[in-house]
Symmetry: C2
Amino acid sequence: MSVVNGFNPSAYAPLLRTGRRVSNENALRDVPCPAAAQRSTCGLCKFRETCLGSSSHDDNQFTKPLVSYRRRLKKDETLYRSGAKCDAVYSIRAGFFKTTILSEDGIQQITGFQMPGDLLGLDGIGAGKNRCDAVALSQGEVCVIPCANLVRSIHDSEALQAHVLRALCDDIGVNYGAMLLLGNRRAEERVAAFVIGLSDRLLAFCTPWSDFRLWMTRAEIGNFLGLKLETVSRIFSKLDEQGILAVRGSHIRIRDFDALRSLIGNPEEKVRRRRSRGLAALPSPLPNLAVASAGHEADAARQLVDRIIERVAATSDEVCAIS
Amino acid sequence: MSVVNGFNPSAYAPLLRTGRRVSNENALRDVPCPAAAQRSTCGLCKFRETCLGSSSHDDNQFTKPLVSYRRRLKKDETLYRSGAKCDAVYSIRAGFFKTTILSEDGIQQITGFQMPGDLLGLDGIGAGKNRCDAVALSQGEVCVIPCANLVRSIHDSEALQAHVLRALCDDIGVNYGAMLLLGNRRAEERVAAFVIGLSDRLLAFCTPWSDFRLWMTRAEIGNFLGLKLETVSRIFSKLDEQGILAVRGSHIRIRDFDALRSLIGNPEEKVRRRRSRGLAALPSPLPNLAVASAGHEADAARQLVDRIIERVAATSDEVCAIS
DNA sequence: CGGAGTTTTGAGACTGGTCAAAGCATGTGG
DNA sequence: CCACATGCTTTGACCAGTCTCAAAACTCCG
């Protein structure tokens, strides 16, 4: 680890203290476990080693700082717009975001939800233009990494190059998962997978995985999942009745994780129907468990172990509340 | 252009001549315009400048050859498997391919169809593992680019780095388009968009855009589009009846391109219903025409002009048949 | 307390899926 | 060269899941 690695609690503190608008200062306040979030914010960042400049140990040469400044956003504020020149990439320090595309005939599709530790705008560096709109779902803060810095640094540092390639490829993997979800899953499965996916990512971000806030509206969830908001609402209600989830407005709690997970491959009594002809539901010719679930792959093992440990250990839901 | 740029007609000729199995030697025979295909194969390749090594003019240093060898595949042969170590990336010289992912519970999703000029396996370089299975839909041939070569060369050549980033980002853009298709479009729109997309790409690949072979089965089209094969078949039949397409088995002809295109935003008399609430169908707040249609962006202008010229000029369908 | 936006819930319509059977195309073997 | 087998495609009838429209309930905020 280099001395200056970007993780500096004091640099983070102002975000907690400031906030002229008390009502909207929810970027961290609403995260059930602010201390944990604070602790891990820079630790999750892919560029933490080089963000503020460091004497890079792999190339034996000095690298200039990646991050030029930080930017804070209010809820509903747009970070960047599709089609605009991509002059920077962003690493999320705080807050939740969505990215959307807009078709020629005005149809909007949410392509993803992002949280602290995620990168925004990386998909624009290839063409030099942003492909999405990025909008804050809550108050948030991002580290601004100018593309010029990034491209230069990619050339200088093999580690950084690997990071960027990795992030891009992971993104593609996540998109593949989304395509599978949209193309092959019924509504209930999609919602279940969505909640599980959120839970997984929140866990990596070190907040409680079973009890969190949905930063997006039903309409946004539905848009992302290819469903209408009413359908999402109905499924939430149904899973609530079944005791699998506890949904109260924008707050959700996973009460039976296994049941939730089992919804995905086994849509109730439809199972016996599933031996259909055609492409779907092959009896898994080779035991390929690696793909299509999310974007984990190399860290998957470690994360999975962490998750299992935490989930098993957590008989109560008050896991992170100690801090 | 460097002297050795990989485009060498004599190197390509063997593929045309060989073929112990007369019946399956259809990689090029079935393309309506073999001469055009041959002409453009290497010209479309993103690595044509450096594939065989060249004194790169942007870095003023000698670059080692990218492509180590070529590999020929029979129909239904697997180029690489998901989860396997990604030791190479492939540039398609001939033939058509599909990439698929397999979920943990055995559901398969086709993530894309590839044709000459496209890259395969690039999404694996980040994690070092392939994320998809890649399978040949026809006899084909690929240039094998070992990852080691590629990663080394990315570091040496800024142009190549840009190419790779560009290809990855374009891939992401295409995936976004697919998500929009799967999440927001009805069956007829999906099929129409699929045919148009194929046509566009075949045109870039310099084969007739209006009259081509569908290399994939109905089941594969349906899987890709999130529909069942019967639905695809029904829609083909319907568009055939309407005189928009002429579909005979695996051969398709676009008879009314404008009508086909107009199907996408305006699903018949549903238009007036479309003033729905929620996220969909905003009246296009900003005229953003850049996204979500396909992967073109920088070359879009040129390609578009070409396309329009060719499409307008082509009163008959026998465009490329001169060669 | 009132208003705007979000969520829930219901009733009915319709798209697309499911199952089934017949029609075709392609390749194989006699 | 033809008959047959296999796999793909087409078409029909029926049904289920999801969408649409509508209205009431709720939440958040001024």
